[in-house]
């Protein structure tokens, strides 16, 4: 460890006792310990997510007027945001005359779904996913989870969004 001609160890060497050529050297035992420590941290993180996820109960959704019911003809759509301004949704009148609404965010990779004219399907143009507009279930393409459904109520000729079913 003596780097000077007089045999004294320089002060910086005391602070950094690892030699340059040993710097990259990690034993398998150290690697196994490091990985096991990482494993413990991952358990802690997963547990924290579990506690956070179970505490974050679905809140009370606001009652929000969406549109006049007559403003959406059969096969027609209307875009709105619910429950917050960051949540785009689509209101659709099915060919059967029933009004339905879903989150517009595709459950595959979050592109915006659009109504497929002439059908009761919502289409995601990014990866050609499709959802059945009757119940929001995936009908084609990569999505595997249904679209969150917006609960609707009609009152006095107006349509109100009153909740979200995931």
């Amino acid at each position: 460890m003596s780097d000077t001609p007089d045999g004294k160890i320089p002060r910086w060497r005391l602070d950094f006792p690892i030699r340059w050529d040993d710097d990259h050297y990690v034993t398998r035992r150290e690697l196994a310990k490091f990985l096991t420590l990482g494993s413990a941290l991952l358990v802690g993180a997963t547990g924290a997510v579990a506690i956070w996820g179970r505490r974050a109960r679905p809140g009370q959704y606001p009652r929000q007027r969406v549109a006049e019911a007559a403003a959406v003809p059969a096969g027609g759509t209307l875009l709105f945001r619910y429950p917050t301004e960051a949540d785009p949704c689509i209101l659709l009148r099915l060919s059967s005359g029933r009004l339905v609404a879903y989150s517009q965010v595709c459950t595959h990779l979050s592109c915006a779904v659009v109504h497929e004219p002439g059908s009761d399907e919502l289409f995601c143009p990014c990866h050609h996913g499709a959802f059945d507009a009757v119940d929001g279930r995936p009908a084609a393409g990569p999505p595997t989870r249904r679209l969150p459904r917006i609960r609707l109520e009609e009152e006095g000729g107006d349509v109100y969004a009153v909740g979200v079913e995931v």
């Binding site: 196994a32 990985l35 547990g47 997510v49 956070w52």
Partner: protein, 81 residues
């Protein structure tokens, strides 16, 4: 009797195995995050239990490696792992 020749591949294999299990735990964490965001709380507890089980397996493997190393050193054969 443990030998260094046994120890080297054993340590390498166990490191590889622990690393693989850590990757599975990362996947479990990602699944738990997605479940929490999608309001699917029934996924969260099983993901945590599975992750904990993998940690116990990892700890057991590490304990085995350390114990193997200790016995090897006690025999005076050396072995740095």
């Amino acid at each position: 009797m443990e030998t260094r020749a046994q120890g080297l591949p054993l340590f390498t294999g166990i490191c590889f195995l622990i690393g693989t299990l850590v990757v599975v735990q990362l996947w479990l964490l990602a699944a738990a995050l997605e479940a929490a965001r999608s309001e699917m709380p029934h996924v969260l507890v099983p993901a945590t239990i599975a992750s904990l089980a993998l940690l116990l397996v990892n700890a057991g493997l590490l304990w085995y490696v350390v114990d193997f190393d200790r016995r090897l050193r006690r025999q005076g054969e050396g072995g740095d792992g």
